[in-house]
């Protein structure tokens, strides 16, 4: 039994609904336009804090993502994919930063 909950969501509305159902938890969210799970992040998941929630969120098709007014860009302020955030904190890793295991581990283990 893993010490964190993994939730797969598709699209902005599904993401927001799932987050609101888990208020009070330490929430990490990985936004990607790929279906394939990111191996670097996967490899570090054992470092996630006890009781945390890890969202794997697909942002949608390319045309949707390219639209500068899509909700991920407008409301969550995502600038690129993939992006890894610690929800409710300024902690985030963008694009190439997500492929660096030491940075991902730092986010999972930081206070």
């Amino acid at each position: 039994m893993s010490h964190y909950e993994e939730v797969k969501v598709h699209g902005y509305d599904e993401f927001c609904k799932a987050v609101s159902e888990r208020k009070g938890n330490d929430i990490f969210a990985y936004f990607s336009d790929c279906v394939k799970a990111e191996p670097v992040v996967r490899g570090v998941m054992s470092h996630l804090p006890e009781g945390s929630v890890f969202f794997y969120c697909q942002v949608g098709e390319r045309p949707y993502w390219k639209d500068p007014n899509n909700e991920f860009k407008k409301t969550l302020k995502l600038s690129g994919v993939p992006t890894l955030i610690r929800y409710g904190t300024p902690q985030k890793l963008v694009e190439e930063e997500c492929f660096k295991a030491d940075l991902v581990r730092m986010m999972f283990t930081e206070d």
């Binding site: 985030k92 890793l93 930063e97 730092m106």
Partner: protein, 520 residues
């Protein structure tokens, strides 16, 4: 016999001297073999320390940076980045902006904006936004350090000997690091006037103001430094009843005529000033408010008033007490307590360097610390011999009416060159934006202090007005290039701006003529 930590060759244990039966001369037998843990250990993760460590790492050095924030008396603490990021420049400028926006909202109505009701400010909204931005900067630094392979340790560093640093965690755990070179960039912290009863228990400092979750309310700011005036300025600007208590002169070290214009504007805009006043005591009343008693030095009488908060801005003290400097032989300036440094930032101990606010005689500014740090890293890596140039550094005071300057004050120029050898050109101007807004521009002023004769080299340039920092920056480059009044006059102004008035300055103080700019 020294009691420094060392590796005892007899028992091959790391421990203190006392157990060893044979006295070994410590100095001089240090590892010439070069088996240090790090090429460079930097104590202090502020503007200077971070710039130095990142630069060194980029040049291939093995670097560690130690950063630790001793909580303030009120318990405030913060992440990596030092004073500038957490309790200085950054939050200050953001809160100053919040205050300026309040003034802009008032002006907006004259420009046609229909604003329905009375405008009020919510401290918590502003504080949260500012604090979140600061946290994102803390995170950004963490990512950069990790990315550039700088080892970051959240420990309180101190020197055991000239190549050994001890790190202490919050919980008291010890770490030892050895380094070829050690850099001290621990900066400073606000002083408390400990001789005033109640000052420590009931007052706050700039370490606390930016992290308050709730409004400080009616505030007394004690001091007349730029910290005091900037804080009092934005507190007034967001609608809080604020008083500044000044013992003698405002902005000591700055051009006094300009300092007067800054405080005149603040008084006209609602900040109360208690001149020639010295606080005597601070008491907390049963209602929770603070009662401050002070002596009015002009009348000799004591006065009393109540405030919700008392902010001490009476100077900053260097962070050297717990570094173990005396033991290792790093010499300090007796008066200031700062570390004595040479032009290459070296201290009295060969491989130990110090720079930033901690260095004696150095400007207490972020850009100089950053540049000095980078150059130091380059020199230590053997890439350059270039020394930091601390001359001609431009600065700006972000009071409600901003004041930007580069070079000498008028009094400094007079003192160095003699009143007869200088020519001071000046102008009172009115920013165009103030006209429709019906704002008083009496303190918007420009002063160019020049060497008399020939092309009249510019010795100092002073500007009060909106966006003074933006205006001054460009002129600072000209100053660095040895600009003369001729150069200034040959420069065509951009119209309509406030900055262009600098290129049009032509009335000298000596002439006694009216210096008010008229017309277009």
């Amino acid at each position: 016999m020294s009691n420094l930590g060392h590796t005892c060759w007899l028992c091959l244990l790391w421990s203190h001297y006392q157990h060893c039966p044979i006295e070994i001369e410590w100095h001089g037998i240090w590892f010439v073999t070069g088996t240090f843990d790090y090429d460079l250990v930097v104590i202090g993760g502020g503007s200077g320390g971070l710039a130095c460590s990142k630069e060194a790492a980029q040049l291939g050095q093995k670097v560690a940076v130690l950063d630790y924030v001793e909580p303030s008396v009120k318990g405030t603490k913060w992440g990596i980045g030092g004073t500038c990021v957490n309790v200085g420049c950054i939050p200050k400028k953001l809160m100053h902006q919040a205050a300026l926006l309040g003034t802009a909202l008032k002006d907006a109505q004259k420009y046609g904006w229909q604003i329905p009701g009375p405008i009020s400010h919510d401290w918590s909204t502003m504080a949260e936004a500012v604090q979140n931005h600061v946290r994102s900067l803390n995170w950004g630094h963490r990512v950069q350090l990790q990315d550039k392979e700088v080892k970051y340790l959240n420990v309180k560093g101190s020197l055991l000997d000239e190549h050994t640093v001890k790190g202490l965690t919050r919980t008291g755990k010890e770490t030892m690091l050895t380094a070829k070179n050690i850099v001290i960039a621990t900066g400073g912290r606000p002083k408390y006037p400990t001789h005033i009863p109640g000052a420590v228990e009931h007052g706050i400092t700039s370490d606390d103001i930016f992290w308050l979750k709730e409004s400080p309310g009616k505030t007394l700011v004690v001091g007349a430094s730029y910290v005091a005036l900037e804080c009092a300025g934005f507190l007034t600007g967001i609608g809080l009843e604020t008083t500044v208590m000044v013992r003698s002169i405002p902005l000591r070290g700055f051009d006094q005529q300009m300092a007067g214009l800054v405080t005149d504007y603040m008084e006209a805009y609602g900040t109360k000033f208690s001149w020639r006043s010295v606080p005597k005591s601070v008491d907390k009343l049963s209602s929770g408010v603070l009662q401050v008693t002070w002596t009015d030095e002009q009348t000799g009488k004591d006065q009393r008033d109540t405030f919700d908060s008392v902010l001490w801005a009476v100077g900053r003290a260097p962070e050297t007490k717990t570094l173990g400097l005396e033991k290792v032989g790093v010499k300090l300036n007796k008066e200031s307590g700062k570390i004595l440094v040479a032009a290459d930032e070296s201290t009295s101990v060969p491989n130990i360097y110090a720079f930033g606010d901690i260095g004696e005689g150095r400007p207490e500014l972020t850009p100089t610390a950053i540049k000095a740090g980078k150059l130091l890293a380059r020199r230590l890596a053997g890439r350059t011999n270039e020394l930091m140039n601390y001359d001609n550094v431009a600065t700006t005071v972000f009071t409600p009416l901003e004041y930007g300057c580069v070079g000498l004050s008028e009094e400094e120029a007079e003192s160095r060159h003699g009143k007869d050898s200088i020519e001071v050109y000046h102008a009172f101007y009115k920013p165009l934006e103030f006209t429709v807004a019906e704002r008083d521009a009496s303190q918007c002023y420009i002063k160019v202090v020049c060497k008399r004769g020939g092309d009249q080299r510019i010795l100092g340039l002073h500007f009060t007005g909106p966006n003074a920092g933006e205006v001054t920056q460009g002129f600072a480059m000209g100053f660095q290039c040895g600009a003369t009044l001729t150069h200034l006059k040959e420069t065509v102004g951009i119209h309509p701006t406030c900055a262009e008035e600098l290129t049009k300055v032509n009335v000298s103080k000596r002439s006694g003529l009216d210096a008010t700019v008229t017309g277009c």
